[in-house]
């Protein structure tokens, strides 16, 4: 982390991953990963396949327990808190692969997404306004949707719990450009609402355009972080592919 430019951010972060090590059996998926998201930020997490982005989101959401390190919410240690209890705090994950409830209709998926402890601005009507695509599909069964439609419904389902922080794994992966554009239009509305976002996005252009801060991961480590204006596209590309000499030496040294 020493050579990555630390961006000064004010106050207690909303969500903080502190020195996380995560293992799958003997395999180490995350190496001493630290990440912060402050209220109102849109943070992008960038990295190649297998870099550990999904593992990191799963760990922050509580679906995966870290070997060492802490997860904090508003300064409070929630490392031991179950995933389903974190939803009640206002932390929501739209998982990779969308994972809709297949035998339920779109509207039923949204209804299940609502949480009794989390009232707020988001309602089914609001979701339909923000995601016109979803409104058209309300009576459709979730297993009869295209990938883009599934993603829109999955994000909507997360919003139904009125999260303070929404984490979306692979926003645009495998989706048609038209759909991606629509999704990001809707996400801009979500951001304007004051919801903080942590996005995993493969599309560098999109990620750098929408985010206020970004982290790049390589082989289970965070190798670059900063504001889009402070890091160049070349630095991000180098971090993505691990082509920078300094980075290679750093990884090799550990």
């Amino acid at each position: 982390m020493s050579d990555a430019p630390r961006t000064p951010t004010q106050g207690t972060p909303l969500l903080e991953g502190d020195s996380l090590d995560v293992y799958y059996g003997p395999l180490r998926a995350l190496h001493d990963v630290s990440l912060e998201v402050h209220a109102g930020e849109t943070v992008a997490l960038i990295g190649a396949n297998g870099a550990g982005k999904s593992t990191l989101l799963q760990t922050l959401a509580g679906a995966k327990a870290p070997g060492t390190g802490r997860v904090r919410w508003d300064g409070e240690d929630i490392t031991a808190l179950s995933d389903y209890r974190r939803v009640a705090l206002g932390l929501s994950l739209t998982p990779e692969g969308r994972r809709l409830f297949k035998s339920l209709t779109v509207e039923e998926n949204l209804q299940v997404g609502a949480h009794p402890d989390r009232s707020g601005d988001w309602s089914i009507e609001r979701v339909y306004e923000t995601f016109p695509l979803v409104a058209k599909l309300r009576r459709r069964r979730a297993d009869a949707l295209s990938g883009g439609e599934q993603q829109a419904v999955a994000i909507s389902r997360s919003l139904m719990s009125n999260p303070r922080l929404l984490m979306i794994d692979e926003v645009s992966l495998g989706l048609a450009p038209v759909i991606v554009e629509q999704l990001y239009d809707s996400l801009r509305t979500v951001i304007a609402q004051g919801t903080s976002l942590l996005l995993v996005e493969q599309d560098l252009e999109l990620a750098m355009e929408v985010c206020t801060r970004l982290y790049c991961m390589l082989e289970g480590r965070i190798v670059l972080s900063g504001r889009p204006g402070d890091v160049t596209r070349d630095e991000v590309v180098a971090a993505y592919f691990g082509t920078s000499k300094a980075l290679q030496e750093k990884v090799a040294a550990e």
């Binding site: 679906a63 989390r118 139904m160």
Partner: protein, 289 residues
Amino acid sequence: MRWLDAVIHGILLGGAYALFAAGLSLMFGVMRIVNLAHGALAVVGAYLCSEGIRRLGLPAAVAIVLALPIMAAFGYALQRLLFDRTAKSGEFATPLVTFALSIIIANVLLAAFTSDVRSIPVGDIGTASLDITSTTSVGWVSVIVFVLAVGILGGVQLFLSRTQPGRIIRATADDQSTVRLVGVNNHQVFGAVTAFAVLTATIAGISTGIQSSFDPNSGVTLLLFAFEAVVIGGLGSLWGTLVGGVLLGVSQTVAAEIDPQYALLAGHGVFLVFLLFRPRGLFPGTWQG
């Protein structure tokens, strides 16, 4: 007239089978658990009720009403303490554990209450009958059980399709790890489903005890009928289970009219025909109503 008689009795009998089968179907649908102890648990419920009347001198109605929440709580504990753990050890662990449980239960009952056949005395209503025509009459208890079965199965189907807890149960059946990401503790859902399954099994067990008799090993026969009703009706549809139970009941009573020794055989025969030609049952569904 005696054929009509047999059909009417078969339909009423089928209601009891369906009531018993509903819990089996629900547990499989939500947790993918084949609960081979379902029959034994129904018998435990019947013994609990019988003991309440014999030892504590409770009125039958009180004993029945008390047995239901006790058995439901037992079901919840069974899920959280036993089935949740065995589910982690692979898909074959749970059927084996439930099979073992059924044997343990039968033997504990045998040791505690001997192999004497029992029935649950409920006074006059137990023998009161309702005349449908001048020659056909049916027992009040079997009518009550049938109405209860239709009400419970219909109620559950409506509950699953129309209410928020019902949607959460169906979502859990679809994907038990993803419901956690929308703030639902899947294990609590599992516990509630098993509690309800054991509750309905208890109602069915007690009604068997009122209408005929039971002993520590009665669970095996009950379980077989329930399985047959579920397979005939189609997994995942509770209305299907009701139709399956009725088909099974009618085939038994009609065959018994020809010769009493054919009753069970005919029921198994209908089941085997379905298994051969329509293995997914009459109404394979996913609780969508």
